[in-house]
């Protein structure tokens, strides 16, 4: 009886020692596999998942992905959000993060150039320009143009075509490009501007790829945040994102890699 309880307590002690050792190693720094938290612009959701899976397979590091609107992420980052890497849907916010001391300057690079698409499950938008000019619909869904770069590009496109003022009363805004997509997908809005990557593997409806000349290019920049300056996994993730395997995935989802 006595020896049994003694055995139990020594077992507890061993477990405690192991836990302590684990804690200390984590303080010293990761030796092997590590975790990085990546804030990913909503339009890049699907490619980011594929890239993270391949990244884990190749390096053993785990990339935890958090999806949302770039504007919301920037606000969160300036308020101490626990992200180490920021994949924005624009170039402006990563640069702001660098300028205001939240990110590491020399890690900034363009990982993709976004493509905007007009998509509908109700009306025929194969000729998007004509469909927008005809205006035979009640609701047009876009991402919030102030918080989401694809929303800004959508507004620019309508302005280039000279239809913005006419269509303005029909616009409904999703909080991110994901919600803009969802409004069209549920057919609550007849059509909407979404990211080409969101339509990867989607066969429903008709689509019109917005010519690049109609809006300023959607440079999507990545940056290492100060919180991840000493994180191996975070640096490795950014390096992997620049590599050929990740770029193949990015191209597959319809992003442009370089402006010709």
């Amino acid at each position: 009886m006595r020896s049994a309880s003694k055995g139990k307590s020594s077992m507890k002690l061993t477990a405690l020692a192991a836990a302590l050792a684990g804690f200390l190693t984590s303080l010293v720094g990761p030796v092997h596999a590590d975790v990085t938290h990546v804030a990913v612009a909503a339009n890049f959701t699907e490619p980011a998942k594929e890239i993270a899976a391949l990244f884990k397979q190749k390096t053993g590091h785990e990339a935890v992905l958090i999806f949302g609107a770039s504007g919301a992420f920037y606000t969160q980052i300036t308020h101490g959000a626990p992200f180490e890497v920021f994949l924005s849907a624009d170039a402006e916010r990563p640069k702001m993060a660098v300028d205001n001391g939240y990110a590491v300057a020399d890690t900034l690079f363009t990982y993709a150039i976004g493509r905007l698409v007009l998509w509908s499950r109700v009306v025929d938008v194969t000729n998007g320009e004509a469909a927008l000019k005809a205006g035979n619909f009640q609701k047009l869904s876009i991402a919030n143009p102030v918080a989401a770069p694809y929303g800004t590009a959508a507004v620019e496109t309508m302005k280039s075509l000279g239809v913005y003022d006419a269509l303005k009363p029909k616009i409904v805004q999703g909080n991110s490009i994901a919600q803009a997509f969802q409004f069209v997908d549920t057919r609550n809005a007849e059509l909407g501007f979404v990211a080409l990557a969101q339509l990867h593997g989607v066969s429903e409806g008709t689509r019109w790829e917005v010519p690049l000349k109609l809006h300023s290019p959607i440079f999507q920049d990545a940056v290492l945040l100060k919180t991840g300056a000493n994180s191996e996994a975070s640096k490795a993730f950014l390096a992997f994102l620049k590599g050929p395997e990740a770029r193949a995935i990015i191209a597959k989802f319809g992003y442009v890699l370089e402006l010709s």
Partner: protein
């Protein structure tokens, strides 16, 4: 008003409109429902009460998700909208009213039901011996006696609608002057780093919530004193 820009003032006005219309509709729907729940002896009564109370427990996203489908072209909302040539009730003020009614329902039904239950059988029996018809007894006896409960329900319903956020974010589409209410406008201002505007609206909300809760406490005190 007071030199406030439209983007501040319009969401405030819209919120008050939404809360007023929702509260009035809620009183019309919730009062008979609460009466039935308080008086009925049907076996499925408590099941019905549970259904009414669901929005109290469910996250607003659940309601928002189902509403987005139900209000859309494939759901009953699309059918109703087609009466005036629309396709969907999402992104409309009507849609927001429907969402608010559903999500605020338990906060209105509960106090009214309790008030009707507290009236009990006795006053109604007395009214009936005085040859009052059941309808007349309801209007002249039960309803006045339950009025503190109705007032509590109305205040709670109004306040809850003002505080509604998740459902509106999911079905509103953020249209200025139509579906962009205070709570979603605050969210928008915060996302776009416009702290000053966010502060104005959020501070107003805090003051409003304080006033509502204080009023509730004072009302309750007054009524219990009168009752005692």
């Amino acid at each position: 008003m007071l030199g406030m820009p439209d983007e501040i003032w319009v969401p405030i006005r819209l919120t008050i409109e939404l809360a007023t219309i929702s509260t009035l509709s809620l009183l019309v729907v919730a009062t008979p429902l609460a009466w039935w729940l308080a008086r009925s002896k049907a076996w499925f009564k408590e099941a019905a009460a549970a259904i009414v109370s669901l929005p109290m427990v469910l996250p607003p996203t659940v309601l928002g998700f189902y509403l987005l489908i139900a209000l859309g072209p494939d759901g009953p909302g699309g059918l109703i909208a087609s009466l005036w040539g629309g396709r969907t009730l999402a992104f409309t003020f009507t849609g927001l009213v429907i969402g608010s009614i559903l999500s605020s329902m338990p906060f209105v039904v509960q106090p009214i039901r309790n008030a009707f239950a507290a009236v009990g059988d006795r006053p109604l029996e007395v009214a009936s011996t005085l040859r009052a018809s059941p309808t007349r007894a309801f209007w002249t006896v039960a309803l006045p006696l339950a009025s503190p409960g109705l007032l509590t329900g109305a205040v709670l319903g109004f306040a809850h609608t003002v505080g509604e956020f998740g459902v509106i974010l999911m079905i509103g589409g953020n249209i200025p002057g139509r579906t962009r209410v205070m709570s979603t406008a605050i969210f928008d201002f915060v996302e776009t780093m416009r702290w000053r505007e966010a502060n104005l609206l959020a501070g107003g909300m805090v003051a409003f919530a304080f006033a509502v809760i204080l009023a509730m406490i004072l009302l309750e005190k007054r009524f219990t004193r009168v009752g005692a």
